[in-house]
């Protein structure tokens, strides 16, 4: 009787192929696209400049004029605030940003530099 319904036929492979393709397509979605390293510079909450740090070959600076003047330095794969007229210098002391999710903020100048994407630690936010 079981000859009527054999356990396996060659055409069954079709089903497994489809299943494999569906799963592969699904897992593809899980792979984070971390190849791009986009630095975003904001002043007063507006995006002033976006730079793909992977494509930077020569160091390049951006000076943001305002009540407090801030200088941003783009280098291959990294970005930093190198100079600020602000008294606390918190932004300059933050140092070099190299990974997505990092940011350097100069509150007096209302300037923020951040690298797009998830926080470096895989976190959604940072307290402190």
């Amino acid at each position: 009787m079981s000859g009527r319904f054999p356990l396996f036929r060659k055409r069954d492979l079709l089903v497994f192929l489809v299943a494999f393709l569906l799963a592969a397509a699904g897992f593809w979605r899980w792979i984070p696209s971390d190849d791009a390293l986009i630095a975003v510079v904001e002043q007063n909450g507006e995006v002033v400049k976006r730079v793909d740090l992977e494509r930077v070959t020569e160091p390049e600076t951006l000076t943001l004029e305002g009540d407090v003047t801030v200088t941003v330095l783009f280098e291959p794969g990294q970005v930093s605030i190198t100079n600020s007229d602000c008294p606390d210098q918190v932004c300059v002391r933050t140092g070099v940003l190299t990974r997505s999710g990092q940011s350097a903020v100069c509150l007096p100048a209302r300037v923020a530099v951040r690298i797009e994407g998830e926080n470096a630690s895989g976190a959604d936010g940072m307290t402190g």
């Binding site: 569906l22 602000c86 903020v105 797009e116 976190a123 936010g125 307290t127 402190g128």
Partner: protein
Amino acid sequence: MGQFAAGFKKWMVIAAGLAMLLVVLLVSQFLIFEKDEGYQATAFAMGSYVQQTLYGTDAEEVSSDAAHAVTELEQLISWRVDGSDIAALNQAAGEEAVQLDVRTMDVLSRALSVAQATNGAYDPTVLPVSSLWNFDTDEPMLPDQVDLLDSLENVGYGFLTMNEAAQTASLAHQGNGVDLGGIGKGAACDAAVEVYRASDVDAAIVAVGGSIGLYGSKPDGSDWLVAVRDPNGTQNDSLGVLALQDGFVSTSGSYEKTFTVDGQTYHHLLDPNTGYPAQSDLVSVTVVCENGALSDALATACFVLGLEDSLPVLRAFDAEALFIDQENRITIAGDLSFELRSSSYTVSRQEL
């Protein structure tokens, strides 16, 4: 089954084929669906960098509404803004009660409740002292000791009277003043989350300075991960990660705003009872609870109180906390899920 007509069978085959096709199409649709990275928005408000990430419908519109709500709150509760509720209250000190917006009343009453529960370790009437230190500006300074002691006379939450029914508040004497700096960022998170609740977004996280509001659960259903800043590192260094469902998180750390005079470093977490930066052995306190304003005020209060005296307060407000002391010891009060990621610290737990 022979009794089925051949035509009927044919229809069934077609129906089954269509059903199968539908299922395959719908499933593949979801598989190819982009992973929801969330919509990000940033702004400056409440003297802080405001970052939002929203998941779901109308994210862009909702984020701008939330940012607007934060700015509105700032216009109400910042004592530095001319015409704000708090500016008016301070102006009328010793004279009359002032009518306040319902939002101001809410923040002020929470501030008062924490002040009462902590015997003034957090005190909203700290303005006479805090305005001498100027920590909320770019140029803080060391006050004259005599001025400081004089001003200390005017600090005390007992001077603040609130009338919930009439929606008014008053300060007892001229020279009293309210400064909601220690609660504003947390209250701003409340304002943003209130906007999220009334909207169609599924989930969102808002960070106002070091305070964080969490709403809903992420598209993948996992917990929110909130990194805790490493007090010995820069803005981008964290020592570990808290896994949380919705709620609010605030941190008070002595590293946030400091200045040094004659080799002595002063930080911005003032003890309202002495007028000077709090001398506990802590460097940072992170508080998690169901209200942003409370979490912010409690973080300040716990820093001033120190670990031991904080525990009953946390219990009273149904809050949990993470303390970091000067010897790099982390103490977690409550059941918080925390993953240490730095080798420089040790973790212990404290029952609440």
